[in-house]
């Protein structure tokens, strides 16, 4: 049962509007109500803003936009929007409410964003983690695999059972990059480590995520990596007692110092502020942004005292090397799972390779579901 609601920080006034939303009269009222001198920025979220992970961080970015621009900008958001046809309806509604710039923050909104953008050429759209652009659709993404390298590096040394559990969301390149990156760096420090991957086929479903984590733990995993958005796997690890986890998309520091020993944090605020500014200035262009640790879009949450000092030091050295541009997590020699050579000695992966990644590297077991 999809729940759709639009809220702004303007409280009751907008709640009233929300009540009317959907009726033709309200539409006319709402469109007129947004004065032209104010820039309206819309956000479409795949989970609830309280998920403590992916959507939570995007919403922090939205709040940063509000704080930065004050009265010059108004933001609107809709949470828990299912990927698919419903998204198209929500984005359209947002345009009709007068949004000038809309961020659609999940991979599955790609086609919906493109479809709506075609109908409203004057509105700017930004789609996160996708690959389709248009004159008024820009794309942006973060190099999460850089963070995954750090996780793998720590995970490989923290595991005692040599089994690392990985909760995958959907078998798309972004997730596969993460699995490969984590695995390469875990193997680098621990030749005996094995990964067990469970596909949850959801971005946010605490019940399913908890179940997947529990199964992995029962099969001997003592480190759980997740590419899903809720804190449910953290809770499952905490209940198990001796299982290490990493925060995903957000710090998830409520589970620190153990089980959560570090995290990948997405920091969207600077990007959202810059893009909003571009719309205000009239300099907005369709761009393709893919930033990582060097630019600050990906950062690594505090490595807690549960991690041995020398492991922490080497992990921090790796972060520094990535930040300085001296190290690429996908540096050859690397071989694909089927034994064919992917990268020669010293060669680094091209962005094109990464964006289309649909294979496991050598040493990973199991198949990627097609």
């Amino acid at each position: 049962m999809p729940r759709v609601e639009a809220l702004t920080t303007k409280g009751m006034k907008m709640k009233f509007k929300k009540l009317l939303a959907g009726t033709g009269i309200a539409l006319a009222l709402a469109t007129g109500a947004f004065a032209q001198d104010k820039t309206t920025v819309g956000f479409v979220y795949v989970g609830p803003v309280g998920d403590g992970g992916w959507t939570y961080e995007h919403d922090k970015g939205r709040q940063a936009v509000e704080a930065h621009f004050g009265d010059a900008v108004e933001t609107v958001f809709v949470e828990s929007v299912p990927e698919g046809p419903d998204a198209e309806r929500v984005i359209t509604q947002m345009v009709l409410q007068g949004a000038d710039l809309i961020f659609t923050t999940s991979f599955g909104y790609m086609d919906a964003t493109i479809n709506v953008a075609e109908r409203f050429p004057d509105v700017k759209f930004e789609h996160a983690t996708g690959y389709k652009t248009a004159d008024n659709v820009a794309i942006y993404n973060a190099r999460f695999y850089e963070g995954r390298a750090i996780q793998g590096h720590i995970a490989g040394q923290m595991t005692e059972s040599n089994i690392v559990g990985y909760i995958g969301s959907y078998p798309i390149p972004e997730v596969i990059q993460g699995i490969n990156s984590a695995f390469i760096h875990a193997r680098e420090v621990n030749p005996d480590v094995e990964f067990r991957v469970v596909w949850a086929y959801t971005w946010f479903d605490p019940a399913k995520e908890a179940e997947a984590a529990t199964v992995l733990i029962e099969q001997g995993a003592d480190v759980i990596l997740q590419h899903t958005d809720s804190t449910a796997p953290q809770a499952a690890a905490q209940a198990a007692g001796n299982v290490v986890t990493f925060g995903q998309a957000s710090d998830m520091s409520e589970f620190a110092p153990f089980p959560r020993v570090s995290s990948i944090i997405d920091d969207w605020a600077p990007y959202y502020i810059a893009r909003t500014q571009a719309v205000i200035d009239g300099t907005w262009e369709s761009t393709d942004t893919w930033d990582g640790i060097p630019e600050g879009m990906v950062s690594i949450g505090e490595i807690t005292e549960a991690v041995p000092a020398e492991v922490k030091a080497s992990a921090e050295a790796m972060i520094a090397a990535i930040r300085a541009g001296e190290y690429h997590p996908f540096t050859g020699p690397l071989t694909r799972q089927d034994g064919s050579v992917w990268l020669a000695e010293g060669e680094t992966a091209s962005d094109g390779d990464l964006l289309g990644m649909n294979f496991y590297v050598e040493g990973l077991t199991g198949d990627i579901p097609q």
Binding site: M1, R3, P48, G50, D51, G52, Y56, S80, G165, R196, V197, V198, W199, Y201, F204, D205, P206, A207, K208, A210, E211, A212, T214, V215, L216, E218, Q219, G220, S230, T231, A232, A235, Q238, A239, E254, T365, G366, D367, P369, Q370
Partner: protein, 305 residues
């Protein structure tokens, strides 16, 4: 590559009991309701209402025990709405039940607004002294949280109640032939209302088990269809309590097994594994000759007719 040795059968069986508990609780409640001659398709709605009520009470009162009580109360109150509509106002049971599910899902989402992403207190396991030390059987059967035992206790009580008590006999009489029961002087509507509330309370407990033990977190759509499975299991069990236990374990078992096979690297496409529990339910329903349903099931009763 498949590594079945990675699957620990003891842990698998233990998690099967846990995975089965929410549907078991909801199903045993519905079984009593249907034995009283009422078909309540609102199990899903009552479950999720129980899940959110239990979560809210637990967070605010700090006590999971009160939380489960609140969940049972929430489920029972929602069921009472159904009871008044169908028994007093004589509305259609199927339509009202479906409406109850839709209402429950939305209502729970509304109640849970401020509770998304909050951590629930951990409910400790409750190993049965001595028995939990028995090798193999101990960890499978006797090392669970209290609600797992409660579920089995409710099954046993319902079995004893229906089969060996006068009140149970009256309830069955009302379900088999409400006109005859009425002629004998039994208060059909009162019996049914009580059964409906018991069903709601059980569904509420099942929902709270999800939000407080299984996940443990509140999120919309948390029950994800468990209520419908509970309804199917009642038919599968031909309205008998111990068969219902078997059905719930079968379903719980397939759910847990599919995740285990995936983690063990089974080369079967995930989509097949994910639909396995539902497929198993359908197959069993088709293959087993469903037992005879209570005679007055889903029929409205009015003393003047």
């Amino acid at each position: 590559m498949m590594d079945l040795s990675a699957i620990n059968p003891i842990l698998l069986l233990a998690s099967l009991m846990v995975a089965a508990t929410p549907i078991l609780l909801a199903a045993i409640g519905e079984l009593v309701v249907e034995r009283a001659g009422v078909l309540n398709l609102g199990v899903e709605g009552m479950m999720i209402t129980g899940a959110v009520c239990g979560f809210i009470v637990t967070i605010n009162a700090g006590s999971p025990l009160l939380g489960f009580a609140g969940a049972a109360l929430g489920g029972a109150l929602l069921a009472l709405v159904f009871g008044v509509l169908t028994q007093v106002l004589l509305s259609n049971q199927v339509a009202t039940g479906l409406a109850l599910t839709l209402f429950g899902l939305g209502f729970a989402a509304l109640l849970g607004q401020g509770y998304i992403g909050i951590k629930a207190p951990v409910i400790p396991k409750w190993p049965v002294p001595v028995l939990s030390d028995i090798p193999v059987i101990g960890p499978i059967l006797f090392n669970h949280d209290p609600v797992v035992y409660l579920g089995i206790a409710i099954i046993a009580s319902v079995w004893a109640f229906l089969g060996y008590s006068r009140a149970g006999l009256i309830l069955r009489a009302v379900g088999e032939n409400h006109d005859a029961a009425h002629a004998l002087g039994y208060h059909v509507i009162r019996v049914r209302l009580l059964a409906i509330m018991f069903g709601g309370a059980c569904a509420g407990l099942g929902g709270a088990y999800l939000s407080l033990v299984r996940v443990p977190q509140w999120t919309e759509g948390l029950t994800a269809g468990a209520g419908w499975i509970a309804l199917a299991i009642v038919v599968f069990a031909s309205w008998r309590p111990w068969r219902l236990l078997l059905g719930a374990y079968l379903f719980g078992g397939v759910t847990v097994l599919q995740l285990n096979l995936q983690a063990a690297g089974m080369a079967i496409p995930v989509a097949y594994l994910s639909m396995a529990p539902y497929l198993a339910t359908i197959l069993v329903l088709v293959m087993m000759r469903a037992g005879r349903a209570p005679g007055s099931l889903a029929q409205s009763f009015h003393a003047s007719r």
